[in-house]
């Protein structure tokens, strides 16, 4: 099974994980790691590396970060040569919910490509959608 790790600034990763587990009833196998700016950069890198390695059963790990170019994302990118992984920068709940459904039956590359598109497709301007709904009703 493809491992999934959320890696983000502050408490964001754990809060995303908490919301995902609340909605799915802990159906997935997703973990979270925070990047603490108060620790030494090499220590932060080791913490993230350990978190990613912990969920890798050989199928690889999908890492979902909060912001391309931010420290969590940069740390993960620096680990790409050491661990079989793909990184999606720009976490949202649709990505994480879909990851729970996909992680048991997809390979890493397929999952990463699908989730990148899925995350983008599921951002809405609510007023646009409600106008369409009103027009249909």
């Amino acid at each position: 099974m493809v491992g999934v790790v959320i890696c983000a600034h502050g408490n964001l990763a754990h809060e995303f994980l908490s919301a995902t587990n609340f909605i799915t009833g802990n159906a997935g196998s997703i973990s979270a790691v925070a990047v603490d700016h108060n620790v030494d950069p090499s220590e932060a890198r080791n913490i993230v590396k350990d978190a990613i390695r912990a969920v890798d059963d050989g199928s690889g790990v999908l890492v979902v970060t909060d912001l391309y170019g931010g420290t969590p994302s940069n740390i993960c990118i620096s680990l790409q040569d050491e661990i079989k992984m793909e990184i999606i920068a720009g976490v949202n709940l649709p990505i994480l919910l879909k990851a729970v459904s996909l992680q048991k039956n997809s390979d890493l590359q397929t999952m990463a490509n699908k989730l990148k598109e899925y995350g983008k497709e599921n951002i809405y301007l609510a007023s646009d959608f409600l106008k369409k709904k009103d027009a249909q009703g």
């Binding site: 909605i23 009833g25 649709p94 919910l97 459904s101 599921n122 809405y124 709904k133 249909q136």
Partner: protein, 97 residues
């Protein structure tokens, strides 16, 4: 959002949501966990909109609140069983989510 269904007769049901929060995220996720176990096509309708019943974000886009009338349709060999399982979930099991 829409699936293509053939015009031949298909199993269907109408269900009124009687839970407190309507068609919310936890309910939608668990709905897809059940629907995903069936091979038939499944669609869920509300107020003229139709969602792929195996796709959580599609279901959430229906925006069905408490008391909403939902339409459930299936197409495929295990369609009747899917209607039965999903109707039971919406009417009974979803109330504890």
């Amino acid at each position: 959002m829409l699936q293509t269904f053939s015009r031949r007769k298909m199993p269907k049901a109408e269900i009124r949501l009687t839970n407190r929060w309507g068609l919310h995220a936890r309910l939608a996720f668990h709905f897809t966990q059940i629907s995903g176990a069936f091979s038939c096509k499944i669609r869920l309708g509300h107020a003229g909109l139709w969602a792929d019943g195996k796709e959580i974000m599609d279901i959430l886009m229906l925006g069905a609140g408490p008391g909403s009338l939902l339409a459930l349709e299936t197409e495929g060999p295990d369609g009747e069983a899917a209607i039965e399982a999903l109707s039971h979930f919406l009417l009974v099991d979803s109330k504890v989510l």
